[in-house]
């Protein structure tokens, strides 16, 4: 496996690989999101209790799931950077943090805008909402630490430790609705077996979720490229690359 992985540990190869990947991810995501969001806004049926406000589901749930999966990916990258000193892992952790922060913010904002008409409040300090807010602070802490040091390796170490400590928050978010008496309801779509909703409501969700997921991939590719060239700016291949016209 190491032999197979070896070329991808080379910054130049990874840079070009990410560059080749990003248009595919970007266009596939644009396509899925267009179809998915139009379906969600215009054609998906309204919920019998929540009416049309149910359409917030199609942004809220995908971004909430992504906010946690991005954190998990970032923590795995941070771990491989700290333990096996994979330099590129550090670059990808730094690339993922701002994306995760944005999706956490979206989950919180759409949740508030959904909670106000349905529950009767924008915010309640229940375990699910509070732990998701902590996730946002963890992301902001990781971003701050990445930018706090001029030495990128030092920065990566500090941010990586915080990212790893914060992993404890992930099971808390996931199981908060079962462990505590929360206002937030249990999981709808990640239940084992059939999702707790009709299929004409479920399919637009699948498209939106995949669309947002691929968007994360495309943005991560660009940020990863940025991290690679700033970390390797003394290398001849980077110098040739930036002075040439092609991207």
């Amino acid at each position: 496996m190491w032999k197979w992985l070896h070329p991808y540990a080379n910054p130049e190869v990874s840079y070009h690989f990410a560059g080749k990947l990003k248009p595919w991810l970007g266009w596939a995501s644009a396509l899925l999101l267009t179809v998915g969001l139009i379906w969600a806004l215009l054609f998906a049926p309204a919920d019998y209790q929540q009416g049309e406000s149910f359409r917030i589901f199609y942004i809220h749930v995908p971004s909430a799931i992504l906010s946690m999966s991005i954190y998990l990916a970032m923590a795995i990258a941070a771990l491989s950077s700290l333990v096996w000193q994979v330099r590129l892992a550090d670059a990808s952790a730094a690339a993922l943090a701002p994306i995760g922060a944005v999706f956490t913010a979206i989950a919180l904002l759409t949740g508030a805008a959904w909670g106000k008409p349905m529950w009767g409040t924008w915010w309640v300090w229940d375990a699910r909402l509070t732990s998701e807010l902590i996730l946002l602070f963890l992301y902001l802490g990781v971003i701050a630490l990445h930018n706090a040091f001029d030495d990128k390796q030092m920065a990566g170490k500090a941010a990586g430790i915080l990212a790893l400590v914060g992993v404890i928050n992930l099971p808390i978010i996931k199981y908060s609705v079962e462990w505590w008496n929360t206002l937030h309801q249990g999981a709808t779509v990640s239940k084992l077996g059939a999702p707790a909703m009709a299929s004409e409501m479920y399919w637009p969700f699948v498209l939106c979720f995949l669309g947002f997921g691929l968007l994360v991939g495309a943005v991560a590719c660009v940020r990863f490229q940025t991290e690679i060239i700033t970390r390797n700016k003394m290398r001849p291949w980077v110098r040739n690359l930036v002075t040439s016209e092609v991207n």
Binding site: L42, L109, T243
Partner: protein, 83 residues
């Protein structure tokens, strides 16, 4: 199609404010993320390119200065031999 007119689509069964607030804020945040990502990539490339150019100019200037110094030295050598 769940809506019979554009107005009822905007109204979202009375939840228009909340639905459009959610979709609008999410779109704004995602566009901000995409643009800042592209911008910082462009800036990173430009910064490195500028640094490379500066170093090249420095090298050229140094090479020129060395060449001039050498020429001067040779001139003074040839002057002293001709005397």
């Amino acid at each position: 199609m769940q809506f019979d007119s554009f107005a009822s689509f905007l109204d979202m069964g009375g939840y228009g404010f909340y639905v459009w607030l959610s979709f609008g804020a999410s779109a704004a945040l995602i566009l901000l993320l995409i643009f800042s990502t592209l911008l910082s990539h462009k800036n990173a490339r430009a910064n490195i390119a500028r640094q490379v150019k500066r170093e090249q100019r420095l090298q050229q200037a140094q090479a020129q200065a060395e060449a001039e110094a050498e020429a001067e030295a040779q001139a003074s050598v040839s002057e002293s031999t001709s005397q």
